[in-house]
Assembly symmetry: C2
Homo-oligomer: 457 residues x 2
């Protein structure tokens, strides 16, 4: 019998080639013109699951972008693990800032550059390859495994709640392993104990029925851009505190224990600033950088536009102005309530002379916490410690994985973060990359994890 680790070792070049093939598919879920590509990525992935020896590999319709499912359920009296990831990717703009075309993957200095390399196609492939190695080498898996990959994570998984409700039995499991998370560093593993929630919105300000000459009408009408500026300025203080009425009402103060847990995680702020190219960090007063990004809510404008953007000067009063913004939320903020508070705030701060519409966008997620001593975390911690040679940190993540809350609500199970991205990999930004070393180590980790889970119960 071949050792499953040898199988992995021997097949790395092929696996990397397959990942590159997968990354060539521009499966951007946010853009309607890429809907076909998202389906194409689903088909590719279902076929790849079947090739790995996974049974019932199939693409399932959701009413929106599809999901991919497959399983291997021949380990009686052993736990059932649902492995989650997503095969859709973020848009690529600003395209001009990419050093290579985002869907022509290139491996350089141990890094695979492409949109989706880290978030999440590279990390998603890791458990598939581990399962293939175990099945080929041992003929069976130590636990029951279900795969559940979605194609709409980057747009907030609008059809997933209904889909999961309708497929409770298909997806029933003892725990979820989530491949869409990060480790702390190349040499420092981590257990994820919390995720922020999110909500996203758009504000549209409309003034006069046409762009106006700023000489003729300057002084007569409210400028829609200035109205938007005032609304945005009313939502966030220059110090970084959100000034929307009621916004912090459901936020629990951080306990001494939580602050100690976070403070135990090292952060080299000088390097952090250098990597980002900023000369100062900024955020809500009274909290450390990690507290602010992990355990405190935030509000960020994601985009703003209105009026003349061309070369030179055009002295108009724009007829309209727009922005998109999003919040990151922490326990026990409810995204629906926050959207209501934000909507009310914008309405209350709408000045005269303009009409303001405010709408919710698709990104929406409840915040998520998992006990650090959950048995899945204990097993994951042991695997990571053996593989990295150091104890994992207990970390939170500032980002949102909306599906964790869904799995908890509908399937009644916790989700263990078990992914191998790293935070410098420019996800959602130009020049995204993934480390070849993470790709490889992740496969070993998943193999060990499935074996240890079988032993633990």
């Amino acid at each position: 019998m071949v050792d499953w680790r040898d199988y992995l070792e021997k097949n790395q070049p092929r696996f990397l080639g397959e990942l590159i093939e997968f990354l060539r598919i521009p499966s951007i879920s946010a853009l309607p013109e890429h809907a076909e590509d998202v389906s194409h990525a689903a088909d590719w992935l279902a076929r790849r699951l079947a090739e790995a020896g996974v049974e019932n590999a199939q693409v399932l319709a959701t009413g929106g972008h599809p999901v991919v499912h497959g399983d291997w359920l021949h380990a009686p009296n052993k736990p059932t693990v649902l492995i989650y990831g997503h095969f859709d990717v973020q848009p690529v703009d600003p395209l001009g800032e990419w050093e290579r075309p985002p869907f022509e993957p290139e491996v350089q200095d141990g890094r695979i550059y492409a949109r989706g390399a880290s978030d999440n196609k590279g990390n998603l492939m890791v458990p598939v390859l581990a399962v293939e190695a175990l099945l080929r080498a041992e003929g069976s898996l130590p636990v029951n495994v279900k795969f559940f990959f979605e194609g709409q994570e980057e747009i907030g998984s609008p059809q997933l709640p209904a889909f999961i409700e309708q497929h409770r039995d298909l997806l029933a499991c003892d725990m979820v392993l989530n491949a869409d998370v990060s480790q702390w560093g190349e040499n420092q593993p981590a257990l994820l104990v919390g995720l922020r929630g999110a909500c996203s919105m758009q504000i549209d300000v409309r003034g006069p029925n046409s762009d106006l000459h700023s000489g003729v009408y300057g002084g007569a009408v409210r400028n829609p851009v200035q109205a938007l500026v005032e609304i945005l300025a009313s939502m966030l203080s220059p110090e970084g505190r959100i000034t929307v009425e009621g916004f912090y009402d459901d936020v629990q103060p951080l306990s001494e224990e939580e602050r100690a847990q976070i403070a135990a995680v090292p952060l080299d702020e000088a390097k952090y600033k250098r990597d980002l190219g900023v000369d100062a960090l900024h955020g809500e007063p009274g909290y450390t950088t990690l507290e602010r990004t992990w355990a405190r809510p935030t509000l960020d404008v994601n985009g703003i536009w209105g009026g003349f953007q061309g070369e030179g000067a055009k002295t108009v009063i724009p007829r309209e102005a727009h922005c998109k913004f999003s919040c990151r939320l922490v326990p026990y903020q409810d995204p629906d309530k926050i959207v209501r508070l934000l909507t009310d705030h914008v309405r209350r701060h709408t000045p005269t002379g303009v009409r303001v519409d405010v709408q919710q966008l698709s990104v929406c997620a409840r915040p998520y916490l998992i006990p650090a001593d959950h048995w899945g975390n204990q097993v994951a911690g042991a695997v990571l410690e053996e593989l990295y040679g150091v104890r994992p940190l207990q970390i939170r993540m500032g980002g949102s994985v909306p599906i964790c809350g869904l799995f908890q609500d509908v399937l009644g199970v916790y989700t263990i973060g078990f992914g191998f991205a790293l935070e410098d990999e420019r996800i959602h930004a130009p020049n995204e990359f993934y480390r070849v070393s993470s790709f490889r180590r992740g496969q070993l980790a998943y193999g060990m994890m499935l074996k240890r889970l079988a032993e633990a119960r």
Copy 2:
């Protein structure tokens, strides 16, 4: 001998066809890719002047967009009048809001629709045609006439100060007639006694070296859009008062006489709001709408952009944000000093964690006042009263015609506003138009004006 008025009457269809031909040339001075078109418009115009019987018609280089000059100087002991206009036009974006292509002129219901129809090609052609009629009908002009048409008005006439300095003799005159102004209404003429000045600037805010994931980094860095929002909010109060230190220092309070002069001009605010499609007017407290648009300085954002502008949600922290803005200035504000004050203000209000650049754009003009009883105004007033059957109002204009200040400084002469645009003609905006009736009445008015000027001196 044909009467010059009959000549005009008979040739209206040809004149309208020629204007349409002129309007087809997309002479957008702000866009480098249209530089050839600006030159093409200059050539067209010089040829047309020659056809009208104007002598020495020529295109002159400026180092930027050219000017067109021509003259007829055979009226010894009579005044010399310099007729001014511009053949460049504004950009056309947002193109999607045009009901017809902006450079495919169409006449409908007595209106000529095209970019530049009102500002300024239609109005510029008016004196050319009047001069042609006088020359063809009478063989001579009652006064000496010089034409001086420029191709860079819409970008702030950057090369004109040096050009006028260098061509003092060529341009020497007793007064300027400026065809780039408006009448008060279709049935209400006006004498222009004041123009606002202007300056324009751009702010560029740069934060992290890449767009960032708002989950991972939200709470860690200053959002460049929010920084720009704070800077803009610091410059203008929600009530409409400019809050830049020193901005109002050189503004003279309006005298009782000036306020009375302005109050004598009727403004139907209900109709004004209806035409603009706004439910409320807005501006600096303590002033009427006409005072605010004519005689008080203003600050307007002309365009803003940064981050994600696509469909759906993309939860990034944008790496940068930008805006263009402009001020309208009143006597005795100096645009250079105002630019310095604005630059200092932006620097003082630059928050930590971002880099902010501020630069002056090309639009720059000194405010301008002319005595209401200047002899040119007296003649113009008599002509307008005869033609319209009502006394002209004494009005100001909120817009800027930078060249008025230049003529005053360099040639030592006042500029009489003598143009036939109307303020609802959507200049600088989509669906610009010009009235055929104004085109025709303007030609009569110019013929009468030249004759009366000869009689007055």
